[in-house]
Symmetry: C2
Subunit: 404 residues, 2 copies
């Protein structure tokens, strides 16, 4: 069943990105009857940037990507992703699987192993049957073709209820540059440096020394501002691949940065909209905090509070629980300066219920699919917004009744 919060228009009509070829296949790693592996081959002048989970128990593919990143300024590259098995907590067998896959991709795509980046997403702690993947590589490389992001987005899904894609075309120096990306993620979403899997492709030209910090900045304002359940994945990976085929250098270009941020934010919101069991898409903005970092901390404490999330599921304007979450966040707060709004409804003003507060108005607002919570701490100029979803019985069903 597709999430009720899925984008109304379905998967966007993503154009091909010059220099990117894609293929998918049904390898039967864990799922059957659906594609579960995607392969991307990238043009000879491609720059790769990436941000990854900071989990202390991160997966073998993440460790391998981190070791390879930045190793070569630019060159041909390939990405291979499987769903169904995370190849995490699999010891030396996990590293062996990554090596076997990289060797097979190198042979099939004529790309050096040092430029092959893999990811695995799914169950943690089970050995990856990598021969199911390597045995399909000849078939996949034979079907590599431009376009195909929709199929790629479907191949990397786990508990996702819809494939996620986004794109922007931006003009730089009179040349149109395309940025298109896909993402997967639904549970175990609490960003720490990066979150879930996302691959963004562009035909822009940009060196690693410019692209990597750009991704860091943009990621901090997008994927690092979402949470579904406060649980950080062992496989979080966001990579941006710039093929350079459009022939225009975008280093330092503001329009490019804005377009890239728009694509990442679109994908990040789609992940939250597919949060396991979600029925409400919730934006939480904290203003007047001691600084931006404190604002982010308070916003995340609200976003991750089970009591706040269940109140939203119950369409209850229970602002007392917002107060509780502010209090426990560790961020600086003064009870008597806090104001809280649900959308335009001022519920609490400087430490107590607003004089104009009408519970019926607030309750009516909570019936919306999209809820905005705005907290003014009244002590500084820091601000931050994070996005999350509500916590429903369906989340429990998904995670208690099935192994994911």
């Amino acid at each position: 069943m597709t999430s009720p919060l899925a984008p109304k228009g379905g998967f966007p009509n993503v154009p091909p990105v010059a220099g990117v070829e894609l293929a998918t296949v049904e390898a039967g790693v864990r799922y059957s009857g659906r594609p579960d592996v995607m392969l991307a081959r990238l043009a000879p002048g491609t720059t790769m940037a990436g941000v990854f989970t900071r989990s202390a128990t991160r997966s073998a593919p993440v460790l391998d990507c981190q070791a390879k990143l930045g190793g070569a300024a630019s060159g041909p590259a390939a990405i291979l992703v499987n769903s169904g098995n995370a190849n995490a907590f699999t010891g030396s067998a996990g590293e062996g699987s990554v090596e076997a896959i990289c060797a097979a991709v190198a042979a099939a795509c004529d790309v050096p192993e040092a430029r092959i980046f893999t990811a695995s997403t799914g169950v943690i702690g089970e050995r990856l049957p990598h021969d199911r993947i390597t045995s399909k590589l000849a078939q996949m490389s034979a079907t590599l073709a431009p376009g195909g992001l929709f199929d790629a987005a479907r191949a990397i899904m786990t508990t996702d209820t819809y494939p996620k894609g986004a794109f922007r075309v931006v003009e730089v120096g009179g040349v149109p540059v395309t940025i298109a990306g896909i993402a997967k993620g639904s549970g175990m979403i609490a960003p720490d440096m990066a979150t879930m899997l996302s691959y963004v492709f562009t035909d822009a030209q940009i060196g690693f020394d410019a692209l990597q910090p750009l991704l860091g900045r943009v990621n901090a304002r997008t994927f690092n501002c979402i949470t579904v359940d406060s649980d950080t994945s062992t496989s979080d990976t966001v990579m941006v691949c710039a093929t350079g085929v459009a022939g225009v250098n975008v280093a330092g270009d503001e329009a490019f940065e804005q377009a890239l941020e728009a694509v990442l934010l679109d994908l990040a919101h789609q992940v939250v909209r597919d949060g396991e069991g979600a029925t409400k898409f919730v934006g939480i903005t904290v203003r007047e905090a001691a600084d931006d970092a404190d604002a982010h901390k308070v916003a995340l404490a609200i976003a991750n509070s089970p009591l706040v999330k269940t109140a939203i599921a119950g369409e209850d304007p229970n602002w007392g629980r917002i107060v509780m979450a502010i209090g426990k966040s560790g961020g600086a707060a003064d009870r008597d300066r806090v104001s809280i709004r649900f959308g335009d409804v001022l519920v609490a003003e400087r430490g107590w219920v607003s004089a104009d507060y009408d519970e019926a108005t607030a309750a009516a607002y909570m019936k919306n699919d999209e809820i905005d919570i705005i907290v003014d701490l009244g002590i500084g100029t820091g601000s931050a917004t994070v996005w999350t979803c509500d916590l429903t019985k369906r989340y429990i069903e998904i995670n208690a009744d099935y192994r994911s």
Copy 2:
């Protein structure tokens, strides 16, 4: 419906504590048809110690108690607690309510206002109708009597499904000393310095300078080691009242400390056993951590993970989620040294699934009402144990369908 994890024997047969008189009343603060206020009057030589929530948005009664604590070495004292309304985030009106209640208790019980400690637990952000309480004080003071901890435990309940009490009698210098306490708590349980409400009475003699640090130590090993939902209350209060009537000084006595810890641990476990929607009582022990603080951090990350808690609810030995929680905890960990046990079942050994692991054996273990998870990090000598419960649909029902 009483929690399926409630102590089998029901409320213990708690003896009266010399120097303690109790009364309860139906004041109709929020609930009707049940006692919702308790009053305790303590003998003239009583020492009071307390630990409180560190929430930045703590309630007016907590702020008042913190200001009063330690103000007098010993003397008569009184405690008044209401359920149904937390008197938190109620601005200057909240402080006014505390003052009004303290003045009324002082008049009714002949105890100085500086020695009156109040607490309120229930809905946050609504004005406390304190006149409903003060108007009952003459009636309450007239019915003060020894014993009565069972009624007191019932009067302070909110979403609790059973009253919580515990006691120990310990001999110090040949004299029997009684320690008896009550607690309330079910949701919004994530200790930070103290948690929920608990009042422990003893007829032992002990000065404030010895009792306060003793409570701090014992609290750190008991109430600060439980979590239901990671949400820290604005009203957390634990107080120990030593009336001195037994005439034996217990400062520095190890048997007394052990008995006090046993009472607090018993009460803390009862709070977890009454965790909203709980069907499993879970002990999480982390060993071989860098130090005790790191062990506590890792154990709490596991205990608070929604994915771990839902897996336990589903009786799924999903140790991959334990690995995830270790990874995100911020504690030092090395993936390839981690071992995990469910009870006696070794599931993962030094970074990967155990050679002897049999899923059916682990799945059978998960059907128990009480689950022990033991994690060996393999990097140091620190250890800690925390207790929690599972996360079920019933938690969502309780918190999404009703305002608590």
